[in-house]
């Protein structure tokens, strides 16, 4: 049951993101002051318009595109960097492992959102920098999880046997250890995906990250907040889209985790 809801919601979000240019009734950036602040149900604007007359539905669909793109890229970068570092640290042990773990501890002492926001403020705004900021803050989870997994997989018989047969370290790492660690990477990635989407929305809500007029759910919520008294739809729809997407991806991640690795079940 949870699984199907997760799949349905995620599929809807992906569809919205991919098909946005065709599904959107108007250009999300086009302003039309004669139509500003129209409520949902106005002709040509099923979800209403904002204070500049831009169509809410169109902006929502393009916002999905941005959210999923940023989430996807960030997951890819963090899984790659964190996974690789964790793999090497767990495999080689001794000083690389200690150094990495101290680094991870230090970075984990900063709350994720705060760290991502600070890095973003320092690096400058824009799409590329928000992905980099979120990645810089988010890779540590992988490093920790993967290192732990590698430490335990290393002890298993087939790894010891392969090592005894004289297999080289690199080959051992990538051909034997990595495939067994992959499920945990996938599970963490799917759980992190929804966190990254919400984090990106939070950061653009506060005024960093992606800047207006580019449609992003976070900045739409922030603008909508100013008009909460007179135009509830400006905040309600992007917020609902965000909540449902995060829920869908979360449920999907839960199902993946239950299937791939019941030990991680909470």
């Amino acid at each position: 049951m949870k699984k199907w809801l997760g799949i349905a919601l995620t599929a809807a979000a992906i569809l919205a993101a991919i098909a946005a240019p065709w599904l959107a009734p108007h250009d999300p950036l086009r302003t039309d002051f004669s139509q500003s602040l129209s409520p949902p149900g106005a002709p040509g604007h099923p979800l209403g318009t904002d204070q500049l007359g831009r169509d809410v539905l169109a902006r929502m669909l393009f916002g999905a595109r941005l959210a999923l793109f940023i989430g996807g890229c960030t997951v890819a970068v963090t899984a790659l960097v964190g996974g690789l570092l964790g793999l090497v640290a767990g495999f080689v042990e001794r000083w690389p492992s200690t150094v990495l773990m101290r680094l991870v501890d230090v970075q984990l002492s900063f709350p994720f959102i705060l760290l991502a926001m600070t890095i973003n403020a320092i690096m400058g705004l824009g799409l590329r920098n928000i992905i980099l900021s979120l990645s810089a803050a988010g890779w540590v989870v992988y490093a920790r999880v993967v290192r732990g997994e590698v430490l335990s997989v290393k002890q298993r018989d087939f790894v010891q046997a392969a090592a005894a047969l004289g297999m080289g370290r690199t080959r051992l790492m990538f051909r034997h250890v990595l495939p067994n660690v992959a499920p945990s990477i996938i599970v963490v990635a799917s759980l992190q995906f929804s966190s990254f989407i919400v984090a990106e929305a939070s950061i653009s809500f506060l005024g960093f990250g992606v800047q207006p007029p580019t449609p992003a759910w976070g900045s739409m919520l922030s603008e909508g907040r100013d008009f909460l008294y007179v135009a509830w739809w400006l905040a309600a729809f992007p917020g609902a889209a965000l909540a449902l997407t995060a829920l869908g991806v979360n449920l999907l991640g839960d199902w993946l985790r239950d299937t791939l690795d019941p030990k991680l079940r909470v």
């Binding site: 949870k2 101290r102 680094l103 501890d105 230090v106 970075q107 002492s109 900063f110 709350p111 994720f112 959102i113 705060l114 760290l115 926001m117 600070t118 890095i119 403020a121 320092i122 929804s194 919400v198 929305a201 939070s202 809500f205 506060l206 005024g207 960093f208 919520l221 909508g224 907040r225 909460l228 008294y229 509830w232 905040a235 917020g239 609902a240 965000l242 909540a243 995060a246 829920l247 979360n250 449920l251 839960d254 079940r265 909470v266």
Partner: protein, 305 residues
Amino acid sequence: MRAYVVSRLAQTALVVFLSLTAVFVMVRLSGDPVLLFMPMDIQAKDVNEFRQRLGFNDPLPVQYARFVGAAVRGDFGESLRYRRDALGLVLERLPATLLLAGTSLLLTALIAVPLGVISAVRRGSLLDHLGTITTVLGQATPGFWLGLLLIYLFSVHLRWLPTGGMGGVAHLVMPSIVLAAFYSARIARLTRSAVLEALGEDYVLTARAKGLGEGRVIGKHTLRNSAIPIVTLAGLEAGQVLGGAVITETIFAWPGLGRLTVQALLNRDFPVVLAAVFFISLMYTLINLAVDLVYGWLDPRVRLS
């Protein structure tokens, strides 16, 4: 036990020191700090003179040593915007954040733990399923959407509660509910699985075979043993609430640390950013230390390892 405490303290000191370094590096990476102090129409030659005077021409290790020396004494410089001591500003906002964090954590403990225990004990029942749905929703709903919804419902429509700011109890209600919703979800789920696991252990079977009442079995034996992961998570979340309540504080205009940091970042007020970020990480590290020490007290296996 003493060796464990000493080793944890040493590790904590190291982590704090490294955080200070990390904060220093981050701010230096943001570009020439001298330009922040200067008015816009400054001449290039004057910039150099100020740079010399403020000590930014010294080699980086010297600047770093000076920074660490000052930081240890609590001197993070002066806020560029308010012209007051940076750390002083941070400490001024601390009570507000502590109040919000404390209330949310209390709410979380009161709601989540009983919910988790009941879900575990009455596993598979309607209550359990309802609990699962609520927790999944609570974990996935972004805090700020819930916050905006609550403001719309209770402030705009019903006019029962104020929209924001700090004042009486009425101002505290919505922000703490928003924070508690997210954290209760995780703790409830964890409590449920921890209690379920403990209920499957042999000593519970023995206790029941001895004829011990169900209440005693759960209260006396199960809870103590399931407490460990719950305490760990609660501790981690306490640390997160202190610094990560940024969004909630902004939505409800709560004058706390998170909001101060956001405003400082928007104003490029780097002394305050430095002081705030470091202070938050310090609190988080200290809470982790406290959790580890409690851990060692709760579970003898940890101290002896």
